[in-house]
């Protein structure tokens, strides 16, 4: 057992924290208010720091880093702006990683490298209006036509949708197959004819992050855009989400950390009954429980990241990390608003935004309920 971060990991934290505090934080409230995605700030500059493909080898445009470094990067961005955190997480874990895991050498050259280098933004399109937790209910179809596939259907809630250049899209390629059989994965460029963007979602939180509907109307793509084998899509989606959960867990961790620090600062300054409210046990116990839950979640997140980089199985562990961190984020942000009292409910203080942002972490990339199913199934199947 060795719980210390490496010098490199510490350096990444310092670098990302400095960038996050100096460049990302100042506009976080305004971007939230105006639902404004800032590509240059939230992705291009993040990529300049080498984060867009941090876990991929250098020959594929990455930084050759490990998953703990990646988790730290998402955590630090999310500590000041959860929208920026999820932009990176969705891009790397969901857009680029499936190409790394399942792509051909040619696909890696054409799609992974630009994403890892940060010249292209990635996105992942699995969810549909009637296929949320039950991804086996996919109704988007891809039909083979000579050397092409023709896609028809629509996808909803696609993070980075509308601005991303590269989309991993799941569609049913075998009409007769049931549920999770007969689904395949495709790599689709933004400007492909027949591929358009539908409604942009108006959201409670992570309002500076893009969430968009994708529409496919006789969208023709070359056969070589099939990712992995035909019919292997469900497996690709699940493997991808195993890794994605590390990113979202790290995002939730960062939100919780940011709210916790805000609550500490406020409680030490705010005076009532002639003393800082931090001197009251009622407030101290809230801070102690925040510290405790965050520390426990952080260890779960880093453990799943460590396992991912060590080549160990990490599906159950990343589900635990995501479940624990996201529920911690919701709890901590709610309590952080409480510590701020009436001020916490106003937009004058960032905890109001953080609480709205935290909620989504219990929902996307597998709801808390789905995480429990994953964990429960892993245990009871032995």
């Amino acid at each position: 057992m060795y719980f210390q971060l490496t010098d490199e990991q510490n350096l990444i934290r310092e670098t990302v924290r400095s960038f996050a505090e100096n460049e990302v934080a100042p506009s976080a409230a305004e971007r939230d208010e105006n639902e404004r995605f800032d590509r240059e700030l939230m992705f291009d500059k993040v990529a300049e720091l080498g984060l867009a493909g941090i876990v991929f080898p250098e020959e594929y445009g990455g930084a050759g880093g490990d998953y703990i470094s990646y988790a730290i990067a998402v955590e630090e961005l999310s500590r000041v702006c959860a929208s920026t955190g999820v932009t990176l997480s969705a891009h790397l874990s969901l857009g680029a990683n499936p190409v790394w895991m399942f792509g051909t050498e040619e696909q890696k050259m054409n799609f992974l490298i630009p994403m890892a280098e940060g010249t292209k933004l990635g996105a992942f399109a699995l969810t549909e209006p009637s296929a949320g937790s039950d991804a086996g209910g996919t109704r988007t179809f891809a039909v083979r036509d000579g050397e092409e596939w023709i896609l028809n259907g629509s996808k909803v809630f696609i993070t980075n949708g509308g601005d991303a250049e590269t989309y991993i899209v799941f569609a049913r390629t075998d009409k007769d197959a049931q549920k999770h059989h007969g689904i395949s994965a495709f790599i689709i460029d933004k400007d492909t004819p027949g591929f358009s963007f539908g409604k942009k979602e108006m959201k409670m939180g992570i309002r500076s992050s893009l969430t968009c509907e994708l529409v496919f109307e006789n969208c023709r793509i070359p056969a070589d855009r099939l990712l992995g084998k035909e019919g292997e899509g469900f497996k690709i989606a699940m493997k991808t989400l195993d890794g994605g959960r590390i990113g979202i867990a790290a995002q939730a961790l960062g939100i919780a950390q940011g709210a916790y620090e805000a609550a500490i600062d406020y409680s030490r300054e705010r005076k009532q009954f002639e003393q800082p409210i931090a001197s009251f046990q009622g407030v101290q116990f809230i801070l102690a429980d925040m510290a405790l839950r965050i520390e426990a979640s952080r260890l779960l997140v880093y453990q799943s990241a460590w396992r991912a980089s060590a080549g160990l199985s990490y599906g159950k562990e990343s589900a635990m990390a995501k479940l624990s961190a996201s529920e911690t984020a919701m709890w901590v942000t709610t309590k952080a608003v409480q510590v701020h009292g009436g001020y916490g409910y106003t937009r004058e203080f960032p905890v109001e935004r953080m609480m709205r942002d935290a909620k989504i972490t219990e929902i996307y990339e597998g709801t808390s309920e789905v995480q429990r199913v994953v964990i429960g199934a892993a245990i009871t199947r032995g």
Partner: protein, 385 residues
């Protein structure tokens, strides 16, 4: 980061697991009913022979020098089988460590090898008093200098292992005029010393095999050499040594929680209702998922605290976090496990009933959950000021 056990730690865990399952588990229910005390003693002797009484103690004093992580994983394995045995082992380790940390060379050689070897079945930690629980500095037991000797008067309560302890670490006020907590000292008192009387045994909800008694000090005269550490430095010693004990109690809680939820999982796979295993129902799966997740987080907090202690870094906050989280998670896991068993779980036919009773004390002794939160908050606020 590297989050696996090393070879030696794995070996210790395996040894603890094998011994616990083969020797401790079969008699745990008997011990819980207050039977077979000789067996309990024999088990403590065997654990001493295996090196479990001084896991983080130097070989010079008869210890195993295996470290704090090994201590934690061993405690967890022992607690899976018998929490009463586990708490005895945890306290013995704490006594050895406090003597090693602050005792004189003579005191170390005189007592630690006896506890490590099993010659003393136990050492006891006598801090708590009727009016001094979470606030130990409020103690009234008094030690008065008389020539070269000290004479102690007062009474201690809730003393684990008192009837079979060979030595007591006793805290007493040595300077009544000093500010609160500044006039307390620590003494080593051997069992059988005139005036050192083991009093009434508590009747408890759980952990029945582990004795919990009053300790009366009635004109108890000890030589000047019984003073341990510096005069009037006792409160600081108590506070810093309890941090190490918390890793032990957290690890004990973890063992109970894991055992409860794992046995309940096996039960859920076998138990059929509505024509299927109840493990098929999400309501049951989620109990298992939540308990497993919480206990995994608890394990990591314990390992982190143990790692920091091994590295010689500050670990008080981390030990409090680990103890608080592990013991509360253990209680939830035990009660959810009982719920999975349904009515059967409430009977003594299944061990989960005992796990629940045994787990309940873990959020109380060696610092209540409330005290852990105080410590954590104090450390956090200090680090931001």
């Amino acid at each position: 980061m590297y989050l696996d056990l090393n070879e030696e730690q794995n070996l210790i865990r395996e040894t603890a697991r094998e011994f616990s399952q083969a020797v401790l588990a079969p008699v745990a229910a008997d011990l819980d009913r207050g039977e077979a005390q000789e067996t309990f003693f024999e088990n403590l002797r065997q654990l001493a022979e295996l090196g479990f009484m001084g896991l983080n103690v130097k070989a010079d004093y008869g210890g195993s020098e295996a470290g704090v992580i090994a201590f934690s994983v061993a405690l967890t394995e022992i607690a899976r089988a018998c929490a009463s045995t586990a708490v005895s082992v945890s306290v013995n380790n704490m006594i050895c460590e406090v003597i090693q940390a602050v005792g004189s060379e003579e005191q170390r050689h005189r007592y630690i090898p006896k506890i490590c070897s099993g010659e003393f079945l136990a050492g006891a930690f006598a801090l708590t008093e009727a009016g001094a629980g979470s606030d130990p500095a409020a103690m009234t037991t008094l030690a008065v200098r008389d020539g070269d000797d000290w004479v102690l008067n007062g009474s201690k309560i809730f003393i684990t292992s008192a009837p079979y302890a060979g030595v007591f670490v006793v805290w007493a006020v040595t300077d009544r005029s000093a500010a609160k907590g500044k006039g307390i000292s620590c003494f080593l008192i051997e069992a059988g010393t005139p005036g050192c009387i083991v009093g009434r045994a508590e009747e408890k909800m759980g952990q029945h095999a582990s004795a919990t008694n009053e300790l009366l000090l009635q004109d108890c005269r000890v030589p000047g050499s019984a003073l341990m550490g510096k005069l009037n430095d006792g409160f600081r010693i108590a506070v810093s040594e309890l941090a190490g004990g918390r890793i032990g109690i957290g690890s004990l809680g973890l063992g109970l929680g894991l055992q409860a939820i794992e046995t309940a999982t096996r039960y859920a796979l076998e138990r059929k209702q509505f024509d299927q295993s109840i493990s098929n129902f999400q309501a049951i799966q989620w109990k298992i998922a939540d308990a497993t997740t919480e206990l995994e987080a608890a394990r990591l907090l314990l390992m982190n605290a143990a790692f920091r202690k091994e590295q010689g870094r500050s670990y008080a906050k981390e030990a409090s976090m680990a103890k608080l989280f592990a013991t509360e998670a253990a209680n939830r896991a035990c009660y959810e496990a009982m719920q999975i068993y349904g009515g059967y779980g409430y009977t003594t036919e299944f061990a989960v009933e005992r796990y629940c009773r045994d787990a309940r004390i873990t959020t109380i002794y060696e610092g209540t959950s409330e005290i852990q939160r105080l410590i954590i908050a104090r450390e956090v606020l200090r680090s931001y000021s």
